[in-house]
Symmetry: C2
Subunit: 147 residues, 2 copies
DNA sequence: TCCAATTGGTTTCATTTTGAAACCATCGAA
DNA sequence: TTCGATGGTTTCAAAATGAAACCAATTGGA
């Protein structure tokens, strides 16, 4: 991990949601991570895939590396950007955003990409559960503010 | 749902992750939704809780309503903004972002809010699974591009 | 009843971020 | 040795953000 010290000024320091959004919530950042999930990629790979401006991509890659989400191989001419363990751990969040989009951001029949497992079967829908295993929702949970 | 027609120009039209980010990925949007999870809230409630500029809050509430994520009661002076079913369904994504933040965006011992169930026990960690129930990760899944 | 405060904004304008385009340095291949 | 590809940076215009002022409608109290 990097840059979680007291120097950074978070939007809402005690809230893990807000901290995450501060780290990966800027335009393009999560899409860069999404693409990096498919394997190591170069500057131009991201450019081609996303159509993002060079300077912005440069900035986002730097920020993601500063946040400990991407690592960059310093050797050789053709740099390669790769997810760190923390970066790969964003998989769950990206799956959750993907599944919400599938449910609410497409009209019926609109073409969309799918996330499938090794056998080609769609990944199961995520469902938050309490410690006992029973499903929970915003109605049955609450946020305990930091003491 | 609203505004998923062909008129909107998405960053990456076939990708559900990108569509979700287009809808709720702007600064403040997800924090507004996070707060709305705790129950109906007024304009000033959000202002007080978030410290967001009035015009930006006004814009975000409008966009979230346009996206079908918030509904607003038109009657009475004191408006109330409330999550729709689609809005409440963002719970899973927000939990996923929260859990990532808990794991990677705090130094040990830093105070943080917690999400707990009705009995006060922390919500279990989300874990993506294949259809068979086995855990999956970015290494064991792939994105099938839209046909 | 009238006044003041509260609520829910909009408008204006300065600052910051984004993005397009041009520029540039390094490396490898021909 | 020259050319193209790669991985940037710089420059500048346009768009988004944010602070502050302004405003209209309602509510509560003297």
């Amino acid at each position: 991990m990097a840059d979680t010290g007291t120097d950074r000024d978070w939007t809402d320091p005690a809230c893990p949601v807000a901290r995450t959004v501060d780290l990966v919530g800027e335009r393009w950042s999560l899409l860069i991570v999404r693409d990096a999930m498919e394997g190591p990629a170069s500057f131009t790979d991201f450019r081609r895939r996303l159509g993002i401006a060079r300077n912005i991509l440069s900035d986002r890659l730097r920020r993601l590396a500063d946040a400990g989400i991407l690592s960059t191989s310093p050797s050789g001419r053709r740099h390669v950007y790769e997810l760190t363990a923390a970066g790969k751990d964003l998989f769950t969040a990206i799956v959750a955003l993907r599944q919400w989009g599938e449910r609410h951001a497409f009209a019926d029949g609109e073409p969309r990409s799918r996330l499938v497992d090794a056998e080609g079967r769609p990944v199961a829908e995520l469902r938050p559960q309490g410690r006992g295993g029973a499903p929970v929702s915003s109605d049955t949970t609450r946020v305990e503010r930091a003491g």
